[in-house]
Amino acid sequence: MRCEELREMYELYTLGVLEDEERKEIDAHLGGGCEACRQSLRDVLATNAAVLSAAPEMKPPALLKRRVMAAVGVRHTGWAWAAALAAACMLVLALWMSVQERRGSAELADARRTILQIGAERDHMMQALSFLNQPETQQVGFGKNKPAHGNIFVNPRRGVLLIATNLPPLTPGRIFEMWLIPKGGAPQPAGLFQSTDSGTAYHMLSGPLNLSSGDAIAVTVEPEAGSAAPTTTPLFVAPI
């Protein structure tokens, strides 16, 4: 057959629906290198594509793209992006929870400290009230018209309670020390204490005391480990 006659069959040939005999003839012709027919074949393939593209449009299922990508060994970019976003969100959430937990732990520790302080202060107050309620307890004021002033409560059976206000702020590494000064004797250490930020302090020396008239109570500022004997000038001296 001539090229023009074969041309009539190229659509069916490219669609794979030609009868065996005609197909073999075209195979042989194209195998012979007829360039015009090869170009005709391309034209026919374009026509076929145009006819095939006329199929009614259908929307493929959304997951089909994922299947296709997986089939060729490529992870679907949309899901990879979503996974990365999810991972980033998880990381941010974990960091946020860690910060919150740390903040919560710090707040809890602060609360515990506050409770302990309040508990200690309450104990001091209860102790002080019990001390003050004793009939033998005597009150001695000190520092009248001076910045640091207050009261000392003495009970020979229970000890000494010092309540001072307006004490000077301490420098780091320093502490207040109370002294019991017998008349004509050397000062004896009577305990270390600190003041609050407002300069108020409660300090109690518990236990029976052998006091006599002319004895005195004094307070000095000492190194934080305390001293065996006063090393600074007393803030006040209160005779009992």
Partner: protein
């Protein structure tokens, strides 16, 4: 009246149109060049196994391939399997595709159609030898030096118009060949018509389609 509105009146309108022709032509050429550049770039990326390229290829031709395959097999699950097979085949054979002169759309449609016809033939128990013939016309080397309008909207519209011009019998034989993969002998048996009659319908139908597309190409 504002000067710009004068473009749409009398001789000014014609002058404005004449002035716009080179702009329109340049824009058309630009679109064609960009389309080819895009397609060529897509093929390059497919050959380099760029994962995003496969995603782009599916975005561009996935719906077309699915529509065609579904039209042939009329079964959603089978159509999904065949679309997957189609893109896998394209992925595996893209290395021999001509990046500069190739036309991806016609190639993918041919591969999709052949996968679907193979499926139909396998469930009908029809000859397996057809698979080899279909395989031959999927050769990527055949899909080059196409006109840039091979899958254009205008061409699709022309084809639809041409199909509407066919008689019922002509349209039937075209559908049986393109979408059922039947030979003329098989068509004759199915339609219970003499082979000669079927061949006449096929020949005349294809002639109308060719003429319509040739006119489109000339236009």
């Amino acid at each position: 009246m504002a000067p710009s509105l004068d473009l749409f009146h009398g001789t000014d309108h014609h002058r404005a149109c004449v002035k716009l022709i080179p702009v329109a032509l340049a824009y058309g050429i630009f679109q064609v060049v960009m389309r080819f550049k895009d397609e060529s770039d897509l093929v390059r990326r497919l050959k380099e196994r760029d994962p995003h390229a496969m995603s782009d290829l599916y975005d561009r031709y996935g719906r077309l391939a699915y529509s065609l395959i579904y039209r042939i097999v009329r079964n959603g699950a089978a159509a999904e399997d065949l679309v997957q097979e189609t893109f896998l085949r394209v992925w595996n054979r893209v290395q021999s595709f001509d990046r500069q002169k190739g036309a991806l759309g016609p190639w993918i449609l041919t591969v999709a159609r052949n996968r679907a016809i193979d499926y139909l033939r396998s469930i009908d128990g029809r000859m397996a030898a057809g698979s080899l013939e279909l395989d031959k016309v999927e050769n990527p080397a055949l899909f080059c030096e196409f006109s840039d309008s091979a899958l254009s909207i205008d061409r699709a519209r022309r084809i639809k118009g041409a199909l509407e011009k066919l008689s019922t019998n002509q349209r039937m034989v075209i559908e049986l060949a393109y979408f059922e993969g039947l030979s003329q002998t098989e068509m004759a048996a199915q339609m219970k018509q003499p082979l000669g009659t079927v061949k006449t319908w096929v020949r005349s139908a294809l002639k109308i389609l060719r003429e319509e597309l040739t006119e489109a190409a000339i236009a």
